[in-house]
Amino acid sequence: MACSSYLLSKKDLCRALVTELRRTFTYVSVLGTDIRSTQMQVNRRLSNVGDGTDSERGFVFKLSRGGAFYEYSTDSLEGDPKQIAERITEQLRVDERYRTATISPAAVTDEPLVRDFERESDVDAYSEEELLTLSAELRDRVLASDEHILNAFVILRTLSVSKLFVSEHRTLTQSYAWVNGMMMVLYREGDGKMVQARTGANAHLIADVLRELPTKVDALVEKARHLAHATPITPGVYDVITAPSITGLIAHEAFGHGVEMDMFVKERALARSYMGKPVASPIVNMRDGAAAALSAASYFFDDDGVLAHDTQIIKDGVLVAGISDLISAGQLGTEPTGNGRRESYKRKAYSRMTNTFFEAGTDTLEDMIASIEHGYMLFETNNGMEDPKNWAIQCVAEYGIEIEHGKLTDRYVSPVVISGYVPDLLMSISMISDTVTIEGAGFCGKGYKEWVRVSDGGPALKVKVKLG
C-alpha cells in the first residue's frame, strides 16, 4: 500500500517548518496523518456503507526548549513556513503562574534515519459493492440457520493508515492496513431471555477475513443457543482455564497498563518497584510490541518517530522491562521502546500498549482441562479496567463453560467478572498451552479516554481466581 500522496506533497514543507522552528526550540518534530477508514454493516433491517470514525487528516507538532513540551495540532498546512512557525509559536501560551514550574529538561532521541515503510494490502482490491453483497449473503445465511434469531449483524471495517514523521534528523513514512470483520446475532427462544453472541475475524488482508468469517457461522449460532440458557455463576474462587482472548485481557488490563512507563514517571505504577523481581509464576513469559506480532497494532514507527520494538516484559516470571514513549523515556533516562501512540493527531502521545500477549507454554489444552476437578473455562472479552497502582483486577468475560471431572460440560454461565489481585493471579498460573492466538479487534483507553487500536492474546492459561 502506497503512502498518501497528500502527505508526500507536504514533506518538504514539514522539513522547512522543522528548520524554521528549530530557531526557537531545541527539539522539533511533526507527525502528519492521513487515515482512510470505511465501515460496512448489514442487518435484517438496515445497511450502511461509509467512512469510519478513524478517518482523519492533519498534523501535530511536538516542540521543546528544555523543560515542558509543547504540541500544536492543526488540520492543514498552507503557506509560508515562517508565518506558520510564528502562528504555532503564538499558540503555545502558558499562564505566568506555571511558566517555570516545569519538568526537568531531558535529552530527546533523534538519531538520523530516512526510510519509507510499506505493508502489502488488498483493501482496494474489492469494490464496496462486492463487499456489501458478500456481507448480505452472510447475514442471510445466519438468519436462515435458526428461527430464534431476531437479528443478525455483519460488519466489515477497513483501516488504511499513512503517516509522515519529520524531525531535524529523521524523515520517515509508513503505510499499512488492517481489516476487522464481525458477526453478531440477537437470539431469543419464546419468552426466554434475549442474548447477544458475536464472533470475528481480523487480518491485514481482507481476503483472509472474507475466507475466515463464513467458517464461523455455525459456531456463532450454536453459542447463541447455549447462551440463551446460561445462568449466573455462583461467586467464588475457582480453577479456571482462560481462552486466548481472556488470556489477552489479563495480559492487557491486569498487567500491561502497569508497565506503561509514563505511569512510572507519575509514580502511578506498582510495577516500577518490581523491576527485576518475580511477578508471575516462573513458567510465564509476556511480550509487547508493534514488531512483536502482525496484528491490529503493528506499525513500523510510533507517533514519536521511534521504530517499532518487540519488548520482552516478563521473562520466566520476572519483570524485566516496561514500554515507553519519547517523553517518559527521556524523564527516566531509558531508550524509548516505540510505544508512543496518539488517539489521533488531535491528541497527546502517551506510553501505550500495542500487541500484548503471553508466550506459549508446553501443555496441551486437553491436559489442562483434564487437570481440573471443578472449575470453568472462560471465553471472549467483554471489557476490563486497569489499576496499575494497586494491581486490582476487573476483567469481564462474556461467558464460561463449567468443567467437571476434567471435562467441559454443556453448562454455560454468563457474564463472568474476574476480580482479585494481579500478583495472586499471575503467580497462580500453573499450566500454559502450546498454541498462541492473538485477537486483533480491540480498542484500549487510558483511564477512560485516549482510545487506540490494540491486540492481545496468548495461549490458554490455568489459573486460580475469584469469579462473580
Partner: protein, 427 residues
C-alpha cells in the same frame, strides 16, 4: 485556503446532490498536563472536521452514506469524495425516510467559562487542584486539563442551518496517598460547565480523604451481607442502560428488552423510578439544543413510576416507528427518591466510593463489579474496605431500589446522589 461548510454546500449543489446533510465541527482546545505538580506538556489544537451525508431515493428505498472531507482538500478531491458517497448510497436499500426540516438558529455560549482565557482557566483549575486541603501523605500526582471551544454547525437540504457554540473544561486527576506501608490512588474525571474553584477545591479535598482511607482499607475477613449504596457515578450507568433500551433505534433493530407499558420494577418494595431524557439538565456541560441531524430536541419521559411510558430518538427512527422525533437527547433526569442520604447512611450498609465500573447487563439480568474502595458501616462503626466485588440480579436490584431525596448533576445526569440496593452478594 481552508474550506468550510458553505463551500461544501456549494459543491453539493453544483453536483446536483438533492438531499444532504453537512456537519462542521470547529475545535480549539488548550490543554495542560502536569506530572507531580510540574508542567510536562502544553497542547493547543485548531481543527475543523467536515462530514457530508448524502441521501439517494432509488428502487423504492432510501440509501445514505457519510464521508469525511477535509478543509485542506482540492476541489477535485472533495468532489470525488462526494461522488463516492453517492455511489455508496445507491448500494444501500433502507426503508424510505425524509430529513428533518427547520430554519436558521445560532446558540451562543454565554457561560462563565467564556469570560476567561483558556490559559487562565487552566491555571485556575491547576491551582484549585494542587491547593486543595489534603491529609498528610496525600497529593495529586497527575493532572490533565482540557479547555475546549467547539462550534458545531449542521446544514441540510431541507433548510436546517443550526449552530451551537460551547466551551467546556475537563480535568482528569489522580489522588494518591503515600504511606509507610505503600502507596494507593484513585481516579477522577470531571467535566465542568462553570468554574467554581472553591467547589472544585472541596471536591478534590474529599477525594484526597478517600484516597487516604484507601490506604487503610482492608479486605473484610468475614463475608458481608448488607444493602449496597451506589454513588451518583455508578448509579447513572444503571440509568443509562435502562434508557438506552427505550431508544427508537434499539426498538427498530429488535434489540430492546422492554416495550412501552412494561414494568421495569415489578413488585417494587422501594422507590419506583421516573426517568426523563432531556436536552439539558441544570449545571450539565453535556446539554445541547439540537442533535446531529439538526432536530430540535424535545424532552421525553421514558419511565414513570417504574413503568415504561415513552421512547426517544432520531428523526429517522421515529419515522420508521411512526412516533414523534425527540432527537438524540443527551441528558437523563431521574426524579428524587423518598429517603434522605443521611437516613440511607444511618443503617448498616456498604457504601461504594470507587469501582472499576458498574457492570449492568439487561439481557442477562446482571449487575455487579469490582469495588476499589467502599465504607462498610455495621450500624456502629464505619471502616474502609477494598478487595471485594458485588454481584446480583438486576431485577432484584430494581425491585429493592431506594433513592435519596437529594439530587445533583454529574455530566449528563441529574438525579439522586445515592441509591440503595438490597440483595447483592458481596464477596
Amino acid at each position: 485556503m481552508k474550506h468550510d461548510i458553505v463551500y461544501v454546500q456549494s459543491l453539493l449543489q453544483a453536483h446536483d446532490v438533492a438531499s444532504y446533510k453537512i456537519t462542521q465541527t470547529d475545535t480549539a482546545s488548550y490543554e495542560m498536563f502536569f506530572v507531580k505538580g510540574r508542567l510536562e506538556t502544553v497542547r493547543s489544537t485548531d481543527t475543523r472536521d467536515l462530514s457530508v451525508t448524502v441521501y439517494v431515493d432509488h428502487d423504492g428505498k432510501t440509501g445514505s452514506s457519510t464521508v469525511q472531507v477535509y478543509p485542506s482538500q482540492e476541489e477535485a478531491e472533495m468532489a470525488e469524495a462526494i461522488a463516492s458517497a453517492l455511489r455508496r448510497a445507491r448500494l444501500v436499500f433502507d426503508e424510505p425516510y425524509d430529513l428533518p426540516t427547520g430554519g436558521t438558529e445560532v446558540y451562543e455560549d454565554d457561560g462563565v467559562l467564556t469570560k476567561l482565557t483558556p490559559e487562565q482557566i487552566g491555571a485556575d483549575i491547576a491551582e484549585a487542584v494542587f491547593g486543595a486541603p489534603a491529609p498528610e501523605g496525600a497529593a495529586v500526582n497527575a493532572l490533565e486539563i482540557f479547555v475546549k471551544d467547539s462550534a458545531v454547525r449542521v446544514m441540510n437540504s431541507r433548510g436546517i442551518d443550526k449552530t451551537r457554540h460551547k466551551r467546556t473544561a475537563s480535568l482528569e486527576y489522580i489522588p494518591t496517598y503515600n504511606g509507610k506501608d505503600g502507596s494507593v490512588e484513585l481516579y477522577q474525571f470531571d467535566t465542568l460547565a462553570v468554574l467554581d474553584t472553591e467547589a472544585l477545591r472541596a471536591s478534590v479535598s474529599e477525594h484526597m480523604a478517600d484516597v487516604a482511607a484507601r490506604m487503610e482499607a482492608k479486605a473484610p475477613t468475614a463475608a458481608l451481607a448488607c444493602p449496597v449504596l451506589l454513588p451518583i457515578r455508578e448509579f447513572r450507568s444503571l440509568v443509562r442502560e435502562l434508557a438506552h433500551d427505550l431508544s427508537y433505534q434499539t426498538v427498530y433493530n429488535h434489540s430492546n428488552l422492554r416495550s412501552v407499558g412494561d414494568a421495569v420494577q415489578p413488585d417494587c418494595v422501594g422507590d419506583t423510578m421516573t426517568i426523563t431524557a432531556c436536552r439539558t439538565v441544570e449545571g450539565s456541560p453535556s446539554g445541547a439544543p439540537f442533535d446531529g441531524d439538526g432536530t430540535t430536541l424535545v424532552d421525553r419521559v421514558l419511565i414513570r413510576d417504574g413503568v415504561c411510558v415513552g421512547r426517544f430518538g432520531s428523526h429517522r427512527f421515529a419515522r420508521y416507528l411512526g412516533e414523534e422525533p425527540t432527537g438524540q437527547l443527551p441528558c437523563l433526569c431521574v426524579a428524587a427518591g423518598s429517603v434522605s442520604a443521611e437516613t440511607l447512611r444511618a443503617e448498616a450498609h456498604l457504601a461504594c466510593v470507587s469501582m472499576s465500573g458498574l457492570q449492568v447487563d439487561l439481557f442477562n439480568d446482571y449487575i455487579g463489579g469490582e469495588v476499589r474502595l467502599a465504607y462498610y458501616f455495621d450500624g456502629k462503626t464505619r471502616i474502609p474496605v477494598t478487595g471485594i466485588s458485588i454481584s446480583g440480579k438486576l431485577s432484584e436490584a430494581l425491585r429493592t431500589l431506594t433513592m435519596s431525596t437529594e439530587c445533583a448533576t454529574e455530566d449528563s445526569y441529574h438525579g439522586p446522589v445515592l441509591a440503595r440496593i438490597d440483595g447483592l452478594q458481596i464477596f
